[in-house]
């Protein structure tokens, strides 16, 4: 099998699928040309992520990484969500095939983009350390120029 059981479980039964109409932060990364777009919605109270939903266009691993990433940050403080790495996402899924690692990067970036949006709405400063561009997708404003 190409994917681990964990990946297949999160793909076939994705957690936290949906949208939040009155979200406090929304992040969207990826682009249609490359074949994956992730959109994450956050509800935040007292710096705690009380609810999170996602919508994803992409392959099974894109859907599975989005699903597990939302599970990993739900109920956690914002500061902890920012520490979510693609490596942690891969580990939580019991591994991803090498060609699918970029999906986990996208999931990390989608969470960060949603937090960045939350900070922006709150008028808070962004900590540059957490929002550096990996150049892997079109998540940042550099946009198309370094899409795959």
């Amino acid at each position: 099998m190409l994917y681990s059981e964990k990946v297949m479980d999160h793909f076939m039964n994705p957690r936290n699928v949906g949208k939040i109409d009155d979200a406090d932060g929304v992040g969207e990364v990826g682009n249609a040309k490359c074949g994956d777009i992730m959109k994450i919605y956050l509800k935040v109270e007292d710096d705690i992520i009380t609810d999170v939903k996602f919508n994803t266009f992409g392959c099974a691993s894109a859907i599975a990484t989005s699903s597990i990433a939302t599970e990993m940050i739900k109920g956690k403080p914002i500061s902890e969500a920012l520490k979510l790495t693609n490596k942690a996402v891969v580990e939580a899924l019991d591994g991803l095939p090498p060609v699918k690692i970029h999906c986990s990067v996208l999931a990390e970036e989608a969470v960060k983009a949603a937090v960045a949006d939350y900070y922006k709405k709150q008028g808070k400063e962004l900590d540059e350390e957490f929002f550096s561009c990996s150049g892997c997708c079109s998540a940042c404003e550099h946009g198309e120029e370094h899409t795959h």
Partner: protein, 392 residues
């Protein structure tokens, strides 16, 4: 329930082919090159198979060599024609943008070695124009290689027309007929084909065996050096069981070709019409009529092909997709891009290919399942959300 709808990838070996092969594993296992009785019995079976297949293709037994399959045949045909051309100072090759990688990657390699390669565009329906082939022929053209039927979208190319043009201009014409042999009528002499590649496992024969027809007078170069098998053109002990199985499968397939094609076209057209009617923003790739009887190729906007495949698989349907994620590269299928689809639509492709072993009940099940899976994936797709918003 398991519905196998990926017959362009490979097929089940027919019962007749299996039965024909069995004696050659445990009873008549001699080496076809040996001069003793056991060897000569194997040799006789192999020559009978060669005669049967040649008869079906419309060539002489001497014009047919056995190979390991389509990729090897394509490689040997193209490399041989390129070497023959180079001897006469001809280093130009014409092909199309929708060829199989077994052709395209050989051409890439030849390009690096100094050959000039022209890859023709195809129509939005996925058909190469014979007039374009003629217009591209130059003084130094060594070879035209155009596939008989496309493996992804099933489109049938104007092979007889191209053959006539190549004959007129004295250019060698090779066709990769891996998807076509056993499925549509082929006669190499009537169609002016100089070289033709085929593979047994696409027509209910075993894997790992195929053939290359080469018109008398065109000198092949061996890819594999060694013994004098296949008149020195392909070394290696002949796989007699597989060769016998291939001939049995092809004979059976050709005997039933009309009947099978009729059945498959009916299933194919019903599936295409029903899914197009049930799923908004869906399309069929490739010409609706000029296509293999068993090929259906869809694109669904707003979703990605690999997810679609895996969800269908979980419902017992085995299909295929030309999405980037299934191709192992970052770009979707070169065929879907060549017919003019943008990347975002090409990512959402689904290929379902049938054989006569499929049933109308299976088509019913697929017609019911595909729209459900598409809408499930669309419900969680931000791209679909955008498409719906733009429509309003």
């Amino acid at each position: 329930m398991l519905i196998y709808a990926d017959n362009a990838a490979t097929t089940a070996v027919s019962k007749k082919a299996v039965e024909a092969m069995l004696p050659y594993f445990t009873q008549q296992y001699g080496n076809a090159s040996s001069i003793h009785t056991a060897g000569q019995m194997a040799n006789k079976a192999m020559q009978e198979a060669r005669a049967d297949i040649s008869n079906i293709l419309g060539c002489e037994p001497k014009e047919l060599i056995f190979t390991s399959g389509g990729s090897e045949s394509d490689n040997q045909a193209i490399v041989s024609a390129a070497l023959l051309g180079a001897k006469k100072g001809k280093k130009h090759i014409i092909s199309s943008k929708i060829e199989h990688h077994a052709v395209l990657h050989v051409l890439d390699k030849l390009k690096k070695e100094g050959y000039d390669i022209t890859l023709l565009d195809v129509s939005p329906e996925g058909i190469v124009s014979a007039a374009d082939v003629e217009a591209a022929i130059r003084e130094d053209t060594a070879l035209v290689t155009i596939m008989f039927a496309n493996n992804e979208i099933g489109t049938l190319q104007p092979i007889a027309e191209i053959g006539e043009i190549c004959k007129k201009h004295g250019v060698i014409f090779h066709t990769d007929a891996v998807q076509a042999v056993g499925h549509v009528p082929i006669n190499v002499k009537e169609m002016n084909i100089d070289m033709l590649s085929f593979s047994a496992h696409k027509f209910h024969g075993p894997k790992g065996i195929g053939g290359l027809y080469v018109r008398k007078g065109i000198r092949l170069s061996p890819l594999i050096e060694g013994g004098a098998q296949e008149r020195g053109l392909r070394a290696g002990t002949e796989n007699v069981a597989a060769i016998v199985g291939m001939a049995a499968a092809l004979k059976e397939q050709v005997e039933n070709m009309d009947k099978n094609a009729e059945k498959l076209k009916k299933m194919r057209d019903r599936l295409m019409d029903s899914v197009l009617a049930a799923v908004p923003r869906s399309r069929v790739n490739g010409d609706r009529q000029k296509r293999l009887p068993g090929n259906v190729s869809f694109c669904f906007e707003g979703i990605e092909g690999e997810s679609l495949l895996l969800m269908l698989d979980s419902m017992g349907i085995c299909g295929s997709s030309g999405s980037a994620c299934t191709s192992g590269s970052l770009d979707p299928s070169h065929v879907l891009l060549a017919i003019g689809l943008p990347h975002e639509i090409a990512h959402g492709s689904l290929r379902l290919t049938f054989s006569e072993y499929n049933t109308e009940e299976e088509i019913d099940y697929i017609i019911n399942a595909v729209p459900k899976v598409v809408s499930r994936l669309r419900d969680m797709s931000p791209m679909w959300e955008r498409i719906v918003k733009e429509d309003k």
